[in-house]
């Protein structure tokens, strides 16, 4: 842990020196103190990346820009990456996933459309996810066409490939639900009963808004895709691409060497203990080009234990283990506004 704290301490120093906005926020909103624990680190609210251009590199070093999904350009987070940061995101993702599904590259069905990845310089969170996870695909197939309709030929070709070991499926949680599962009939089993590993994440908020539970999601996967799909969830955000939190076999998300998590009281931002629901502060060692290593999200979660405190997860993996339980309701009204519908 000390090693990690040291890493974050250096990131705090670095961004303090290279991003004037970060330095101002640190100076104006946070008590000046030595960074001894993770809790001492400043943090930026996630939505700040929608309101401002935040970067710790010069503009001519920008290699890629990631955008979150959003309905208008005003609503999208902008994450600026230089070559190094982009490369590190990929490397870390490979490392994290390999620990879960092994290092062998397999045939991969991407539960989305190729059109998400067509721009070279800018990507949505979905596009970034697809490109990131594509590293694991020796041969890639896309389940949806540009109109988000099922490409049955592609899927058939994917199923028929013969290989040792389970094949890989990847997609955004909400896209899998809305564009695939909801369109299939019960017990469709379109992938037959072969072995697959499905990794899904991102967009879970949409599902929680629709009151779809994890159990419902998994049940639909088994009935409509296939009974032998091993489902792995991950938690991540475009503001911290690459350092995702993977779900374990017992249904908990885990921290790893590239990330960490703190739970804070949503009313006064004090640190909460294990077992208490609060707002998630997500930490990533990867954010070097932009000051996104410590972010206060609007997601609610609960930490159950920490292997470093002799409270190890039943699955046997190290790190803190936690769940995301929901999100804070939308912010209240400003001024004389009738935002509840006209």
């Amino acid at each position: 842990m000390e090693q990690k704290v040291e890493k974050f301490k250096l990131l705090d120093q670095f961004h303090n020196e290279h991003c004037v906005f970060y330095a101002n926020i640190k100076k104006n909103l946070f008590e000046s103190r030595d960074i001894k624990t993770l809790a001492d680190l400043p943090y930026l609210p996630a939505n700040l990346f929608k309101k401002m251009d935040l970067l710790s590199i010069s503009k001519n070093h920008i290699f890629k820009t990631l955008y979150s999904s959003g309905t208008s350009s005003q609503n999208k987070s902008k994450i600026f990456l230089d070559k190094e940061n982009a490369a590190n995101q990929t490397k870390s993702l490979v490392h994290i996933i390999s620990e879960n599904i092994g290092t062998k590259r397999t045939s991969m069905l991407i539960l989305d459309s190729l059109s998400q990845t067509t721009s070279r310089d800018s990507f949505s969170a979905r596009g970034a996810g697809i490109l990131g996870f594509s590293i694991f695909g020796s041969k890639k197939f896309f389940a949806l066409d540009n109109n988000m309709s099922l490409q049955t030929n592609e899927i058939k070709n994917f199923i028929e490939i013969v290989q040792k070991g389970p094949k890989f499926l990847y997609g955004f949680t909400s896209i899998i639900w809305e564009e695939i599962l909801e369109k299939l009939s019960d017990n469709a089993k379109i992938l037959e009963d072969r072995q697959y590993v499905l990794i899904h994440g991102g967009g879970w908020k949409k599902l929680s808004d629709k009151n779809i539970s994890t159990e419902q999601f998994i049940s639909a996967i088994k009935q409509k895709l296939g009974p032998n799909v091993e489902v792995h969830e991950y938690y991540g955000m475009v503001e911290q691409t690459g350092s995702i939190f993977m779900g374990c076999s017992k249904g908990y998300l885990h921290t790893n060497q590239f990330n960490d998590i703190i739970i804070r009281d949503p009313n006064n931002l004090s640190i909460l203990e294990n077992g208490q629901v609060g707002v998630i502060q997500s930490l990533s060692t990867l954010a070097t080009a932009y000051p996104g290593f410590s972010i206060l999200t609007e997601d609610l979660g609960i930490i159950y234990g920490n292997s470093e405190e002799n409270l190890k997860c039943e699955c046997g993996q190290d790190g803190k283990y936690f769940k995301v339980t929901g999100r804070l309701p939308k912010s209240e009204l400003r001024g004389c506004s009738n935002t509840y519908g006209m």
Partner: protein, 390 residues
Amino acid sequence: MFRTDIDIETILSHPPLEIFNDEVVRFLSNVSQRIKSHPDLRRFPDLASFGFFIREKNLKKLERFYKKENRWSMGIGAAFHIAPSNVPLNFAYSLVAALLCGNPSLVKLSTKIFEQSELLISLLNKELSEGQYKPFFTLLQYKHDHELNQKLSSECRLRLLWGGDETIELFKSLTVKANSTDITFPDRYSLSLIDAKTYNQITNPHLVSVKFYNDVYTFDQNACTSPRGVFWLGNYAEVSIAKNRFWASLRHVLREKKYTPNRGVAVRHIANTAKLAAHNHIENSDGFSDYAMQVYDIKDGNADLFSEHSGEGLFYQKDINTLGELKPFINEKCQTLSILMSEKTQILEWVVSSRISGIDRVCDIGNSSEFTLNWDGKDLFHLMTKRLAA
């Protein structure tokens, strides 16, 4: 959709009334009594205030006042009210103002549900059903209905558009009759100004805090009249003493009143303050903040600091030596300046002589949300009546 038993056509075809019509006054007085005697009243100080405003004695007082200079004024015609969703009982004040001026009304309520609004609506309905009135208003509640919005907009003589700016622009894009009038209440913000010397001499600072609390927290600081900033006039020593006492005292009142903010308030606050802090406009005020009361010092900036504000107990404060230093923080959107000064005329003179385009109202701390027919800088009585002769 309908919150009363009265249909739209009944109101649209209703003729205008005399000002302070007997039936209207009888109706409102009786509703006032119902409010006064309701067992749950203690929970809703804003409902109590409303009930107090429409009590017979006050209505008679207003009647005497307005009839004196306006012997031959009467209502104009049907009024369409678009109520805001930040102040629960705003719709009621809007309705009362229009009715007292003689205008039968259709009120489009916010779709947001507030307990005190629901209670008031039930009392209004009870009085309507038991009191035998020829109906002169109706309450509607619907989300998106372009056709209905268009119909009502084009058949009414008056529209009271309570904002925010986006809502007003939407309704203004609909067609209206050539002889109709819009009265708009766009996005506003308000400030407080405290003279440190005067404050330090007060024997009961607790009372000042209670008044400030009422101005701010009754509406979770979401009302246009709730101050978002506090400016301290005086020398360094006086101001330091005053600030410490004031915020400590307010914290005390918050505990007394057991005020609980909505969940997630700190997350919403930081979402608001981070950008301003990034631009070096504000910094944390040492030692003043509490979870329901976040205080920041203004380092530099202007009126824009106050335009995007999440409310719920967020304050930006600044020391000033002269009134002139207040000017950069005031623009057209600034509505109310609530003050604690030795006397008011100094400020009023300053606003006029400095030709300030903001500040439509100057009042004492504690009175900022008190409704009058002179509201948001508008003389509602004259806007909503026709004056046949002098």
